[in-house]
Symmetry: C2
Subunit: 414 residues, 2 copies
């Protein structure tokens, strides 16, 4: 192992991350924004599993997406088409997508496109499904789920698209910077960012109103939610992470991802290889009326925010989350402080007021994770076994996958 080579590669990676200029440039159906996306492809969260391993909400969501596309008429048919490879299941991460909870994507679903203005590369994320309970994101698929996706496609997307086209792209860096100063950590809390995003397109909403009053009003109502920005932040971070995939000798983490069965990571120098662990246990705070036995894992890649120094990595700015995900200011500050021990840089723009405007901890080095015995802390939503969100919490990533990645790295560099 040549420490100097690694260090050089890692700092090159940080420079690459900091050189990205992410702008929200489009919104629309996958079929329109990603013309190469095959009709028979379903993406989902996490490192890939054999079909029989997908269970619970994640399995339901995959089958739901197939029904939504009309690729099968009922679940049984969908399952046999998966087994026959007529329908393909693949990880979001391989296609520049990032998955929220089940992270299911299919051809006709609406997505945001975030583009790096420097090199034209894009990352994609789904839209928040709004206030309905039956979210495919949280493992439910009913007639209402489908109607709601159609509503997004037909009502919300055209209005947002005009708003985005009205600009030369919306600068998400500035929104995130301000939001961190307003108590968002951009994973479990996006209240300020959602407001700032809405503010940024409000002029265009006014201009569209005379010709489309209902569409604009419904879009405004849709945007009146604290979670609207989360997906934009996820795609933002995915764009940064993809920029440093596959750098030789680089020991920085490029993906952390949950499926219903595993937690997995990717490391830059190891390319597309997944290192897998069993699911961890978190400290969760459940909404009233639910108990631990209701909780289920159904995947999730929103921890791309932590991978790029947001979420749990800047929770000292979001002490209001005590309310939502539990913990105390002291534990949140302590968790946040620890993340500086496993990262190699501080973000030059995103700064934490409580730490005297120190930049957020950026660049998770698997060598540090292993030697300090500290794993990344992740803020996250909690799903019900029958679907829907029932709480939020904080989880420490499991150590095994980092050790495995570290060993693989050492072996490869010998």
């Amino acid at each position: 192992v040549n420490d100097q080579l690694i260090s050089k590669a890692n700092h090159f990676a940080i420079e690459k991350i900091n050189s990205v200029k992410p702008f929200l440039v489009n919104v629309g159906k996958i079929s329109k924004l990603v013309p190469t996306y095959p009709k028979n492809l379903i993406l989902t969260s996490g490192a890939p599993l054999p079909w029989e391993e997908y269970e619970g909400g994640q399995r339901e969501a995959i089958l739901g997406a197939i029904l939504f596309e009309g690729l099968a008429k009922e679940k049984k048919e969908a399952e046999s088409k998966i087994i026959d490879k007529e329908i393909l299941i693949a990880p979001c991460h391989d296609y520049g997508f990032i998955g929220s909870v089940t992270g299911v994507y299919s051809y006709s679903m609406p997505i945001f496109e975030i583009r790096n203005n420097v090199n034209g590369r894009s990352a994609y994320c789904s839209l928040f499904e709004g206030l309905i309970k039956e979210k495919i994101t949280y493992g439910l698929y009913t007639v209402k789920t489908a109607e709601n996706l159609e509503f997004l496609n037909e009502t919300v997307v055209p209005v947002l698209q005009k708003s985005i086209q009205h600009t030369s792209g919306i600068d998400l860096t500035e929104i995130i910077r301000k939001a961190i100063n307003m108590g968002d950590e951009l994973h479990s809390r996006n209240s300020a960012a959602s407001l700032l995003f809405t503010r940024s397109i409000y002029r265009s909403l006014l201009e569209q109103y005379p010709s489309n009053p209902n569409g604009v009003m419904e879009t405004l109502d849709y945007l009146g939610n604290d979670y609207v920005f989360l997906r934009l932040g996820m795609a933002y971070c995915k764009l940064l992470a993809d920029e440093i995939a596959n750098i030789e000798h680089c020991t920085l983490v490029t993906a952390m991802s949950f499926s219903c069965k595993e937690f997995s990571i990717r490391v830059s120098g190891s390319g597309n290889r997944w290192f897998r662990s069993q699911l961890p246990k978190g400290q969760v705070k459940l909404f009233e009326g639910y108990s631990e036995s209701d909780v289920a894992w159904m995947g999730g890649e929103s921890c791309i925010t932590e991978t790029m120094g947001l979420g749990g990595f800047c929770q000292a700015t979001a002490l209001t989350l005590q309310d939502y995900s539990g913990g105390t200011p002291e534990t949140m500050i302590e968790n946040n402080t620890k993340m500086y021990e496993i990262t190699i840089a501080e973000h030059p723009i995103f700064k934490i007021p409580y730490f005297r405007f120190k930049g957020t901890p950026l660049g998770i080095d698997i060598r540090k994770v292993v030697s300090r015995r500290i794993t990344p802390v992740i803020n996250m939503g909690v799903a019900h076994k029958d679907g829907g969100q029932i709480g939020a919490g904080v989880v420490n990533a499991p150590m095994e996958c980092f050790i495995e990645a570290f060993n693989a790295f050492n072996k490869a560099s010998k």
Copy 2:
């Protein structure tokens, strides 16, 4: 002195404060909203001074208001009309008004009206003057100042008025509660509150747009400022403070106010009497290019926010202010902690995340101020001697007026 009587009166006062339901109900010229307001009355910040004592920006602002009303053609004429009592100068606090910096009000100026839905009592504050440098608020009066006030009256006020009338009053408590969770302390930082306020009238702005596109766009631009909410917060607090004026035996502070010459307070049980001190010295952070010798006092009553437990009294929630007004997270938390030592209650709705959602310190008791030798901490803007804002900072109220009030109280209760 009967401690039990005092304690009973003070807790009765806290109950009264907490019973107020402040709603933004109107905006418009003073002449329309306060029909009893005399044409020849100019209000200004601070305990009243003899005319010859008003100097610098505060004097300029008073004369400017007289010219704005056409009560005199030039300053000399204005001055002799003041001396002849043809024009009256009085403290804002006596009329349910609250003054920002110079705090100058006259008949044709635009104001917000905040009403207590429980008993119909109102409090009033001016509108933020926007981005022009020549603000009468900061002691400047030119043709541009007058044109800008006309712009507010003719363009912004009609749009905002329709927006407010569209509702049954805008619930400011909810906006302030959320803003505190988003890093505002509602005096030097109002970024979240300004966004939330703007958000609360978006629907109405959309509806007005087709018939008044320019007016709505200009109003939207005007609202795109982090300081827009400050005046609403001030009037909110003034409404609470007036609710507890003149309660027998009550030792809680009901007003803290600066003129160009003095800092003064009022205490509930002492009614309208002012207790006066010399101006204090603050720790200030000046905008680039300015020095201490540029700083001037020209009045200010925005510390009504501190009087009611906001501003400096919840600065632990607004650590981002390090940037703007200086200090460190540690000093801000320490300052905030001390304010619990001189107050008798915690706000039931406004809660500070850093203190595990402890309510903001509410009800400044002059007995505690005197016995603990701790005076209120006040966040504030800093004015240039020739007008305009040149910085911000933190100031400790001077002790003398509290001691004087305490002694007067003891004498009266013997």
